[in-house]
């Protein structure tokens, strides 16, 4: 193989750049080159198109295969409880016998695990309780909403109101960073700051979390303002079953990686 000087950015670096994984110095050089080079821009588009197509083919392929989480999480709880109750006994109770004992313990505490899980559902609702949070809207028109700037500053829910929301859901002393008090119908879609429109949403718990709902809200607002759906429909769908609405508008069974990605690193930061 003869080595030839190639002035263009290699594929590897184009991919690293798109992934924000290229070291800073090289990254700014590459950006300058990209701005001036049609060839490299076209190549990067090609690579990213292939990536997007593979990712979406893959998520379609796998979406239906992920079973519901309920019983498996309860089983894990039960098995952990089994391990936790286990003593460190050397000799006879090692290896095989210990495994058998752990298995037995797991079965015995499975019922407790299921009970915990039901309780967990109460404490960590994925969807709001329709009786407590039916949703409430302001009377604004589509035109008014869509002409307002999208990000209208930080909307702070008064502490007293947040307290009222927790109280109505029977949550006492909510753990830090477990919840955000979220609008059922976002103000960007005409939702009101009213206890009937607020609920404690688990922040990072599971796949259907606050980040994913945010993505749906953005999508619905775009569709409303584009005139693809009417405002009332958007309000109704997000307040009835936001997870069903997400599935419908993103054509997917599970949260898309790019939406799930928002929360993945966050609780640690």
């Amino acid at each position: 193989m003869t080595m030839r000087y190639d002035p263009h950015i290699p594929d590897r670096e184009l991919v690293q750049l798109a992934d924000a994984e290229l070291p800073a110095v090289r990254s700014s050089e590459a950006r300058v080159h990209l701005e001036n080079c049609v060839t490299c821009r076209a190549r990067q588009d090609e690579l990213e198109r292939a990536r997007e197509r593979f990712f979406s083919a893959r998520s379609e392929e796998f979406a239906a295969q992920v079973p519901a989480v309920d019983s498996s999480a309860a089983l894990l709880r039960a098995r952990m409880a089994g391990l936790a109750s286990e003593r460190e006994v050397p000799g006879f109770w090692s290896g095989r016998h210990r495994a058998a004992l752990a298995g037995l313990a797991a079965i015995l505490v499975l019922a407790a695990g299921v009970a915990w899980w039901m309780d967990g559902y109460r404490r960590y609702p994925l969807k709001p309780d329709a009786n407590l949070t039916p949703g409430a809207t302001l009377s604004v028109s589509r035109e008014q909403l869509c002409s307002a700037p999208e990000a209208d500053g930080l909307r702070v829910i008064p502490a007293a109101l947040a307290g009222e929301v927790f109280h109505s859901y029977g949550i006492r002393g909510p753990k830090p960073r477990n919840y955000e008090v979220d609008y059922l119908i976002t103000p960007a879609l005409g939702g009101a700051t009213d206890v009937r429109n607020l609920w404690p949403q688990p922040y990072s718990r599971g796949a259907w979390n606050a980040r994913v709902k945010d993505a749906l809200e953005d999508r619905l607002r775009t569709l409303v303002c584009r005139g693809a759906i009417d405002l009332y429909t958007a309000q109704r769908e997000i307040s009835t079953d936001w997870i069903a609405a997400y599935r419908k508008y993103f054509h997917t069974g599970t949260p898309l990686p790019e939406h799930a990605r928002f929360f993945k690193d966050r609780p640690w930061e």
Partner: protein, 198 residues
């Protein structure tokens, strides 16, 4: 922008002491289960086998953290926060990866490969519809086939990246260098773009 509609409750609450380790591990399980399962499916594991491996991974994590907790005797504070997050995620996927390989050897490669084929194929066979959709499906099938034809490490890098892992997390999961991750992804996407253009 997204923050505008919500408020953290950090400040509003009194802390109730350290959380039980079981709760921490359950939260991690709920956050990572889907991604780990999909990764395991990429080895051709059946949903049942995948689910079982995920359980094993989080039980191992639980044991790992319990031992760490006993050793360091941390009276308070959140143990998990002492672990760098990239190591934690890398750790989870590394253990899952190794268990998947083990299970694949156990269940025999042939039946395994057959399972893999049907798993990937049935979607395309059942997809009905107009011509454009058929062409779309063909293209998707071609891309998936191109990935299956790649060396396992390249497949792993792609699948882990698709689940949103950063390069350092992928490196940790596969026990390779950052440079190797970048090289692999660059090579694989180039291959995919060729398959896509065909």
């Amino acid at each position: 922008m997204h923050e505008s509609c919500s408020v953290f409750v950090d400040a509003a609450v009194e802390s109730g002491g350290p959380r039980p380790l079981e709760d921490e591990v359950t939260d991690l399980y709920l956050d990572h289960r889907g991604a780990l399962l999909r990764y395991l499916f990429s080895f051709g594991l059946s949903p049942q086998d995948g689910e079982e491996v995920v359980q094993e991974v989080f039980l191992a994590l639980f044991q790992h953290l319990r031992k760490g907790k006993a050793r360091e005797n941390l009276a308070c504070g959140n143990l998990l926060q002492n672990l760098p997050p990239q190591n934690l995620k890398g750790w989870i996927f590394r253990v899952g990866h190794n268990l998947a390989l083990k299970r694949r050897t156990q269940s025999g490669r042939e039946s395994f490969a057959a399972n893999h084929q049907t798993l990937w194929r049935n979607h395309w066979d059942t997809a009905p519809g107009p011509e454009e959709q058929a062409i779309d499906c063909q293209r998707q099938a071609r891309l998936l086939a191109a990935v299956r034809a790649m060396p396992r490490r390249d497949q792993s890098c792609l699948h882990l990246r698709a689940e949103g892992l950063r390069y350092r997390e992928i490196a940790e999961a596969l026990g390779i260098s950052l440079g190797a991750v970048a090289l692999s992804l660059g090579r694989s996407l180039a291959r995919l773009s060729r398959a896509d253009a065909r």
